[in-house]
Symmetry: C2
Subunit: 119 residues, 2 copies
């Protein structure tokens, strides 16, 4: 179960486990932005932002283009796909399981005579 | 942007940032299991499994019922919902943005005369 192929998902989930990094991703989901624009609401120091951006870059979630003095960052195309697909798969399995339980309860209910009918 | 309401998502993403913990969630998405069943393929020691289960429990992703000597664990209903909803929202925004870019390119293409037409 443990091998290198898990590493990208590990890094993605880890990168998203912080509100400031999720805030940056939320901003970039609307389109590319300068570092200043993407981190405006974070309320932390520039060095802290630099560290958070590094985590997002190392996880392959964002990319950076430097044009003169401006660092523009954007979500990498398909970057969220791996995590979203994994989540969706688990949720679908789990919900299918719940449906089966619900169907079972429903079947039990309709095959059991009600109190009135059995009198 | 940073407040206590982010903590559940932080804990969920962090809990899912490890292949052994994701493996346990994958198993539990199929239905409840004993600790032994859910961690059979992990290939690590029981104390290591205990620590991973604690992380999953603290994040509110799984719950444990102790019946006699058997510890049965299951996914908590709706536990994956927060993370899945966040992921889906970002992906939808990002894909809508890509659609807009694609539409723009398409419009440019169809409004620009081709080389043949302009001759």
């Amino acid at each position: 179960m443990v091998n290198d192929s898990h590493e990208p998902l590990d890094a993605s989930f880890n990168a998203l486990a912080h509100p400031i990094r999720r805030g940056i991703v939320e901003r970039l989901a609307l389109g590319p932005a300068t570092v200043g624009e993407a981190s405006r609401d974070a309320g932390v120091s520039k060095p802290a932002i630099t560290k958070h951006l590094r985590v997002l870059e190392d996880a392959g979630l964002i990319e950076r283009v430097v044009v003169g003095r401006t660092h523009q960052i954007s979500l990498r195309d398909g970057a969220l796909g791996g995590v979203a697909a994994w989540m969706e798969r688990q949720r679908a399995l789990w919900e299918r399981k719940l449906d089966v339980v619900e169907q079972y309860i429903e079947e039990q209910r309709s095959s059991t005579p009600t109190e009135k009918e059995s009198q």
